[in-house]
């Protein structure tokens, strides 16, 4: 499962890879030195850009929500720093057969209300996700009748078909374990406003539109948080978030606007933390529209686009990275050997001529109206005008945009995708498999039997190496089809106060604040 955002205003705080100083992190947080004295301050204020609708793991997945949930709930497995599934609530697990997985739960875990966490709760949590209507497809591959609880601390699940991403899926926060008793008593909706989990933090309060506050769980089954309280503040306006960070009202700001990165870095009161995420930004041709049916037209326009300029202008030189494939460089299977459609007007014209479109044509570009997208659109418009293509801009209000895109009404749009399962195959399937045409992730509506074939195969290949290889194949095929114009891999830009220590930009966006503390 992956998260796609069609808005490109500011890259939402997303998944980051590995820990400090490791590959993905370009600008790590300041490290602790011996001379510094630990401060007694024990409240951390974290600012983020939008308010989740609910804190129920079941709800629609928004990055911020997952992050807060991550601190309240635990999952059976979790990604470690190398983005491999590793034990969490499940001490150990094994695949019994092609379809069956067995998880052995820890016995020392208690929910915040004091009740022990048992396999019943796990089954309940998984069933809930399967029954949900709120767009959560985390459990669609699992057999709802196949969950078993042989004893209180053993949980068995079956997939409907052989599926390579089962472990990754179990790591996903949608499959957080919730207390059956509490949920049944409170009802789903109320639970979403005042959740009870087993995580490192207990839910304290939620002031609508303003903040969500959690508190250290002193009974936590592993290392407890250093700080007592975390206050997640909702500040929608990017500029205000930055100013609040600079003025000290906020300790950590997620989703820093790219324009503010330098300022935060230079300011002695703040530090900049940049890490590569798993997010693409691209322009998608609607392959089902007549103009773009011909692969050559798509390739031609790819040549006609100065992608690097767009990236630098719209996403920042240092806050994004050149995109060279649909799969982010941080994911296994990414290949960097693809022959890029380098900016070349002549080649573009040639290809257009071949396709019989040398006399130019008009294309409508539909995108969410915001300033970043406007810049992108204007740049594109100017570039394409050189090959005789008239780009008609259609900035669209958010409410109407998704509906239009879901109907495939657009000819061209821009979008972004986050690979939240950290499995390229899963993401590619949603974006490019014919099955998924006209769904929220498949903005190019590509339908190619060859691609489908490889993607299907990835799905059932449990060997990671093999899978990576197939992913490479898929990338090549897709690249050749040219459904996208690659713009950028965006990075996660986080601002923090200069006194903040111990923050680890984890790959999962479920930032773990347990290790965070302040120095004087």
């Amino acid at each position: 499962e992956e998260k796609q955002t069609t808005d490109g205003s500011s890259p939402a705080p997303s998944e980051t890879s590995s820990e400090s100083a490791s590959a993905g992190v370009e600008k790590g947080p300041v490290q602790t030195s011996d001379t510094e004295k630990v401060s007694s301050k024990d409240t951390l204020v974290v600012a983020f850009d939008r308010e989740p609708a609910t804190l129920d793991p079941l709800g629609n997945n928004v990055t911020v929500k997952r992050m807060i949930e991550g601190s309240i709930f635990d999952t059976l497995l979790e990604f470690n720093e190398n983005m491999e599934p590793s034990p969490c609530l499940a001490e150990s697990w094994e695949q019994i057969d092609e379809l069956t997985w067995k998880f052995n739960l820890r016995k020392d875990v208690k929910f915040h209300n004091g009740d022990p966490l048992t396999s019943k709760d796990v089954k309940f949590s998984f069933l809930r996700v399967g029954n949900g209507t709120l767009g959560n497809d985390a459990a669609t591959q699992f057999d709802p009748n196949g969950y078993e609880t042989p004893d209180d601390y053993t949980f068995i699940l079956k997939t409907l078909e052989p599926w390579a991403f089962t472990e990754a899926q179990v790591c996903s926060e949608a499959l957080s374990i919730v207390p059956e008793k509490v949920v049944t008593e409170m009802g789903d909706d109320a639970f979403g406003r005042a959740p009870v989990g087993s995580g490192a933090y207990k839910f304290v309060s939620w002031t609508a539109g303003d903040n969500i506050t959690v508190e250290r769980n002193d009974e936590y089954w592993r290392d407890k948080s250093i700080l007592k309280t975390i206050k997640f503040r909702i500040i929608t306006e990017a500029a205000s978030r930055t100013i609040d960070l600079e003025s000290g009202g906020v300790d950590i700001t997620l989703g820093l606007p790219t324009t503010d990165a330098d300022r935060i870095e230079e300011n002695p009161d703040t530090q900049l933390i940049v890490s590569t995420g798993a997010t693409d930004r691209y322009i998608a041709f609607n392959c089902q529209k007549d103009v773009f049916k011909d692969k050559r037209v798509r390739q031609a326009l790819n040549y006609a686009t100065d992608k690097e300029s767009i990236r630098v202008v719209c996403y920042g030189e240092n806050t994004s990275e050149t995109m060279d494939s649909v799969v982010p460089s941080t994911l296994p299977g990414h290949i960097s050997s693809l022959k890029q459609y380098d900016y070349d007007i002549e080649k573009a014209k040639e290809l257009l001529k071949e396709a019989g479109m040398e006399n130019g044509f008009e294309v409508e570009f539909m995108y969410l109206a915001n300033s970043t997208n406007n810049m992108l659109a204007e740049l594109l418009q100017q570039m394409w005008s050189q090959v005789g293509v008239t780009l008609v801009l259609k900035p669209t209000e958010s409410g109407a945009l998704t509906t239009s895109l879901n109907k495939g009404e657009q000819e061209l749009c821009c979008a972004g995708t986050s690979y939240s399962l950290f499995e390229a195959g899963a993401g590619l399937y949603n974006m490019f498999h014919t099955e998924r045409m006209y769904s929220g992730s498949a903005r190019s509506n590509l339908s190619s039997p060859e691609v489908d074939k490889v993607l299907d195969e990835i799905n059932i290949t449990s060997d990671a190496e093999k899978r990576a290889e197939l992913v490479g194949q898929a990338q090549e095929l897709i690249h050749e089809e040219s459904p996208f114009i690659y713009i950028a891999f965006t990075k996660n830009i986080i601002g923090a106060g200069s006194k903040v220590r111990g923050f680890v930009p984890t790959p999962t966006a479920m930032y773990d604040f347990r290790t965070v503390y302040f120095v004087e």
Binding site: T259, V313, N370, E378, L379, Q382, L393, E397, A400
Partner: protein
Amino acid sequence: MEKTKDLTSSSEAGSIKKRSQVKEVWRRFCRNKQAMVGMCMLLLLIFAAIFADIIAPYDPVEQDIINRLKPPSSAHWFGTDELGRDIFSRILYGSRISLTVGLIAVGLSSIVGCALGAIAGYYGGVLDNIIMRCTDVLMAIPSILLNISIVAALGTGLQNVMIAIGISSVPAYCRIMRASLLSLKEQEFVDASRAAGASDVHIIIHHILPNSLAPLIVQATLKIGGAILSCASMSFIGLGIVPPTPEWGAMLSTGRDFLRDAPHLTAFPGMAIMFAVFAMNLMGDGLRDALDPKLKN
């Protein structure tokens, strides 16, 4: 006799030509210093709008990524924007749309509002009640919702944006007009006109409107800046002017992201809007005074 005296003086002054009301107002307007300053400012803007092609040193949509976000310099008087376009040129071209939006949207709403207000005030009774309750309803609905729906129903485009902005500010004019009508229609000169056989429409146009223009003008000139800004906020959510067409409000909103690094992106369009508003206000006040023959300059 007095009469004969007046008559004799009339023969020598027989050549005195009857001056039309418009000319008269114009004459008084010209004598008002502030109004003239305002008008010069506005003429400057109109001049800029008409001759933007000639004056503008650059193509307003020509991008120059290398030189983006450059502060004001001799090459670019107002600096360059986020895509390296010359802000001065964009402001010149932008005056076309911004002035049109400001003037037409305000004009539209004031005309519709006045007409409704006049009907409500003049005829009173049920009609009055219906119209005023409708404006109450209209006033209570957030203008962004109205704008989204109107544009969604009519489609995007400058024309519809102006209609949308216009409609959402109709109630204010309607109220003002009605209020002044209520007191005006009781005035004796209205009866005098009726006694001469004038129709209701004649009375409203020739007597009531000129006498109730002052507050309307103040309101309208104050609203012009507002109209430009609401056009911008509509563009901001994708309902207004489509980029890259230069438009002050949209420039202002885009500049918002660069407010701290490149303040000139917001400062200049902002000043342009204020300049226009200021000009309109000066002119509006001058016009109000000119319309009132009692006020001598």
